[in-house]
């Protein structure tokens, strides 16, 4: 591998890690706070991507402008899903929420398939394909902007959880739901809020992805799996850890995946199992939550 090639692959990995961190951010939040492995997370990413695609296709809305709209829509969907469905069984053994969100995932993906067809889509704008050349390395503008937006959203989420009243209520509920209730936190609403934020972040990730990679309704499952691996690599308990997890994942994916693409899942999961057996709390995580 020449040094130019190496530099380009490394830059690609860094650019990729931003969007992966955003995909995993909402997933990690929902898991850390409510102990729900939200298998419908990837389906929300798909919904975000389709939202941006249709706003662009039908109304000519710039994909970057559609990100907040997509977040608001997914926030509302997420809030309703948690309030109406998941809150009903959230304290049951974990297989219940696992399967419930799985049922949601196949339902949403199938409905998207049914209404929008399984064709491969992508959002193209007049600035797609333009980029910035530094020495031997090329940096596409859209990927750079996606990295920036992802980092801003990670920082905003971390700040929200730390500094605001609602955010503190979310973390308190995650630590001890009964104690939180005793101090006057409306835990049902807080759970719905947490899930809604998770869905909104998935929507933002989907909107960004729609500009970067071609997509169809079935990309949801693989993104849920990536979100899982990244959350575990980073460690639960502090949402900003996903940046670390995503960076590690992106480097393994770009360097190993470039050589042996057909065995990338086998490698990723072998690494994950080894990590889990040796260090169940993740690289930077505390044993506190999950």
């Amino acid at each position: 591998m020449s040094s130019a090639e190496f530099a380009q692959i490394a830059v690609n990995a860094i650019l990729l890690s931003g969007i992966l961190a955003l995909v995993a951010l909402g997933f990690s939040l929902v898991w850390g706070i409510m102990n729900i492995v939200n298998l419908a997370h990837g389906a929300f990413v798909v919904l975000g991507a389709y939202f941006t695609f249709y706003l662009n296709e039908l109304a000519g809305v710039d994909p970057f402008v559609s990100i907040p709209l997509s977040m608001v829509t997914l926030f509302i969907i997420g809030f309703i899903v948690q309030r109406v469905l998941i809150n009903q069984v959230v304290r049951a053994p974990l297989l219940a929420t696992f399967l419930l969100t799985f049922g949601l995932e196949i339902l949403i993906v199938n409905l998207v398939n049914y209404f929008f067809k399984a064709d491969l889509r992508s959002v193209t704008t007049r600035y797609s394909g333009t980029g910035w050349t530094v020495g031997v390395v090329r940096v596409p503008y859209i990927r750079l902007a996606a990295l920036g937006i992802a980092l801003v959203l990670v920082a905003l989420t971390a700040w929200f959880l730390r500094a605001t009243r609602q955010g503190r209520a979310i973390r308190a509920t995650g630590m001890d739901i009964d104690a939180a209730r005793l101090t006057g936190v409306k835990v049902g609403t807080i759970y719905s809020l947490t899930y809604a934020i998770g869905a909104a972040l998935a929507g933002a990730a989907g909107s960004l992805l729609s500009m970067i990679v071609p997509f169809d309704p079935n990309i949801g499952g693989p993104y849920t799996q990536r979100a899982f691996v990244i959350s575990v690599l980073g460690g639960l308990g502090e949402v900003a850890n996903v940046v670390l997890g995503a960076l590690l994942y992106a480097f393994v994916d770009v360097f190993v995946g470039a050589r042996l693409p057909e065995l990338s899942q086998a490698f990723t999961f072998a690494a994950l199992v080894i990590l889990l057996v040796l260090r169940p709390e993740g690289i930077a995580g505390k044993k506190f939550y999950a």
Binding site: W31, V37, L85, N87, Q88, V89, V90, R91, A92, P93, L94, L95, A96, F98, L99, L100, F102, G103, L104, E105, I106, L107, V109, N110, L111, N113, Y114, I177, V187, G188, Y191, G221, Q225, F228, V232, E262, L263, S264, Q265, A266, T268, F269, A270, L272, V273, I274, L276, V277, P280, A290
Partner: protein, 333 residues
């Protein structure tokens, strides 16, 4: 063994099982080849679900990768039958089951140390990894082209083989769960730390449950391979099989002897009916069924049946609120 008097209830239960079994024995006489295919599918699903019930239902480990053993069973059976030794079907199928059990032990030793979600996703990853290996290992599995088995097109052969395996499965489950081993599994499910303190050596017992569940899945895989003739990684390692066995077990009732068989029957009925009515929305309907059962009847139909019987016997009054018991116990407001 001291002589025991059977209660009236046990006699009725035994008689109804016998009637059902005789009815199943005569199905091929009254059904077309095509309809028989659906009955065979039901039995094969019941077999897989019985296996999942051992690890997921009794031991409480949500295994999401049992399709790996289904695929290993299918490939071993197929490859042995078309090898230069031309192994007959049944020995080949049992070799597949043994190999799957060995693989389950090797995978289970590290993976069963994980708990909860971690275990679920790790097994999911193992299943994906085995599919990739089957896809890339061209010299043995012929990659994504797949392998072709000898043709055998008697529907009755597959039906009766599946029926025999399911009956054996029911007997095996009943014996296992009434043994010390079965009680240890339930203890692990209820509280692993407490079980360990009581002197149960949890790891080997969990691995045993995992390996036994692999045997069931591999037998189902071998049978399906011989019936479908053509075996490819895409068809025999798909997540859908794992889900089917989990959904069937949950519909019937996890941790019950007859639950998986009942659940498989209901699943096949729903699936056949849904397939013909709305082909494109099949997954949506399945999703709704999963959501319905998880929220209203997480303990499955077996528990609804036993509650219903109590009402019939007049021991309990019927209340609609009974359906909300699960939500009452687990919701957050």
């Amino acid at each position: 063994m001291p002589e025991r008097k059977l209660s009236r209830r046990q006699v009725i239960a035994a008689a109804s099982i016998l009637v059902l079994l005789v009815a199943l024995l005569f199905v091929p006489k009254f059904r077309s080849e095509y309809e028989l295919l659906n009955y065979t599918r039901f039995l094969i699903l019941a077999l897989m679900a019985q296996g999942w019930n051992l690890i997921g239902g009794y031991t409480g480990y949500a295994a999401f990768g049992n399709v790996a053993f289904f695929g290993i069973g299918a490939y071993t059976t197929g490859l042995l039958m078309i090898s230069k030794w031309a192994v007959p079907f049944f020995p080949a199928m049992f070799c597949g089951a043994i190999l799957a059990a060995l693989v389950a032990v090797v995978i289970g030793l590290p993976v069963l140390r994980l708990k909860g979600h971690y275990f679920a996703i790790a097994t999911l990853g193992v299943a994906e990894a085995t599919r990739e290996i089957a896809d890339t290992w061209d010299s043995v599995t012929q990659g994504s082209t797949g392998i072709d088995l000898p043709v055998r097109s008697e529907g009755e052969f597959f039906y009766y083989s599946a029926l025999a395996l399911v009956v054996l499965g029911v007997i095996a489950t009943a014996l296992l769960v009434r043994s010390k081993l079965g009680y240890a599994w339930v203890a692990i499910r209820e509280d692993q730390d407490a079980a360990r303190m009581l002197g149960i050596n949890t790891t080997p017992l969990k691995v045993l449950a995992f390996a036994l569940s692999a045997v069931f899945a591999a037998l189902a895989g071998g049978l399906t391979a011989y019936q479908n003739i053509h075996v490819t990684p895409g068809d025999f390692f798909k997540l859908e099989y794992t889900l089917q066995m989990i959904i069937a077990t949950i519909i019937g009732g996890t941790g019950t002897i007859f639950g998986p068989v009942l659940g498989a029957g209901v699943y096949q009925l729903l699936s056949t009916y849904v397939w013909t009515k709305f082909i494109e929305l099949h997954p949506t309907v399945l999703g709704l069924i999963i959501i319905f059962f998880i929220i209203f009847a997480p303990r499955g139909l077996m528990s609804l049946v036993s509650e219903g019987l109590k009402v019939v016997r007049g021991q309990k009054r019927f209340r609609w609120q009974g359906l909300l018991a699960n939500v009452r116990a687990h919701r957050v407001t």
